[in-house]
Amino acid sequence: MGAGRDPKRGDTVLLQTRPLPVELQGQIGKRLREVYSELVREPVPDRFVELLQRLKQQEDDEKGEAS
C-alpha cells in the first residue's frame, strides 16, 4: 500500500482500477453522506465566532491607529 501513497506519482503509475458496481457505489456514497452530514450538523463552538470578531476588531483598531 505504501507505494501507492506518493501523492505525486502513485496515481498515474498504477494500472487503472475498474469502477465499483453502480449499486455498491450508491450504497457507499449514501453512507458517506450520512456520516458526513452528522458531522456538519454538530454545533459550532463559540471559539470560531469569537475568533472572527477578534480578527475584525484587530483590523478596525489598526485602521483607527493609522488614521
Binding site: 498515474t12 482500477t17 453512507r31 459550532v44
Partner: protein, 186 residues
C-alpha cells in the same frame, strides 16, 4: 452591512463544513478545530487575494487541505511514517460481508490514504465537481477521478465487500482484485 461583515458571515457559515471535512480527514477533533482556526486566520489575512465572485467555499477548502498536508509533510520528516497502524485496527471479519450499517464506516474510511479521503470527501460528501476538486487539491482532473475510483474500491474492501466474489461472479469486475497486476490478455 459592510463588506467585511458580509465576509465574516460567509466564513462563519462555512465553519460546520470545514470542521466536518477536517475531522474526516485527520480523524482527530482537536486537531481538526485547530486546522479550521488556522484556515480562518489565513483566509482573513488573505481576503485581499480572494477574488470577488469566485468560489469562497472552494477557496476555504483549498486553504484547509494545504495547511493539513504541509503540516503532515513536516511531521513525516520528523517521525517515521506509521503506515499500517490503521490497517491493523480496521481489519473486518469476513462474516460481516454486506452488513455495511453494522460495520464501523468511520474506521473503514480512516484506513484510506489521505489523498483518497480528501477526494471522496470533496466529491462524494461536499458535492464539489471533479473540476473543482482538481482545483482544490492541485491535481489533474484525471488524477482526481482515479483517486475517487480507487478510494471507493479501497473503502468497499475495508467494509468487507469482496466485489469479485460476492457481487458478481462473472469476469466483469475481476479488475478489482487484480489491482496492480499486469493484465495478461489470453
Amino acid at each position: 452591512m459592510t463588506q467585511r461583515d458580509a465576509m465574516e458571515a460567509s466564513l462563519i457559515a462555512a465553519v460546520p463544513n470545514l470542521r466536518a471535512f477536517a475531522n474526516s480527514l485527520c480523524g482527530d477533533p482537536t486537531r481538526a478545530d485547530d486546522l479550521v482556526q488556522d484556515t480562518l486566520v489565513k483566509a482573513w489575512a488573505n481576503l485581499a487575494r480572494f477574488e470577488e465572485g469566485s468560489n469562497l467555499r472552494a477557496w476555504l477548502f483549498t486553504i484547509l487541505r494545504n495547511t493539513y498536508f504541509s503540516e503532515l509533510r513536516k511531521r513525516r520528516r520528523e517521525v517515521e511514517d506509521c503506515d499500517g497502524v490503521f490497517a491493523d485496527r480496521v481489519s473486518v471479519p469476513p462474516e460481516q460481508h454486506a452488513h455495511m450499517d453494522l460495520i464501523d464506516f468511520k474506521k473503514a474510511f480512516a484506513s484510506l490514504s489521505d489523498e483518497q479521503k480528501e477526494v471522496l470527501l470533496l466529491v462524494g460528501a461536499e458535492g464539489f465537481s471533479y473540476e473543482e476538486a482538481a482545483e482544490i487539491t492541485g491535481a489533474a482532473v484525471g488524477t482526481v477521478k482515479s483517486r475517487v475510483n480507487r478510494g471507493r474500491v479501497a473503502l468497499s474492501k475495508a467494509l468487507g465487500f469482496e466485489a469479485e466474489e460476492t457481487l458478481d461472479p462473472n469476469a466483469e469486475f475481476s479488475g478489482l482484485v487484480g489491482l496492480g497486476r499486469t493484465n495478461i490478455r489470453g
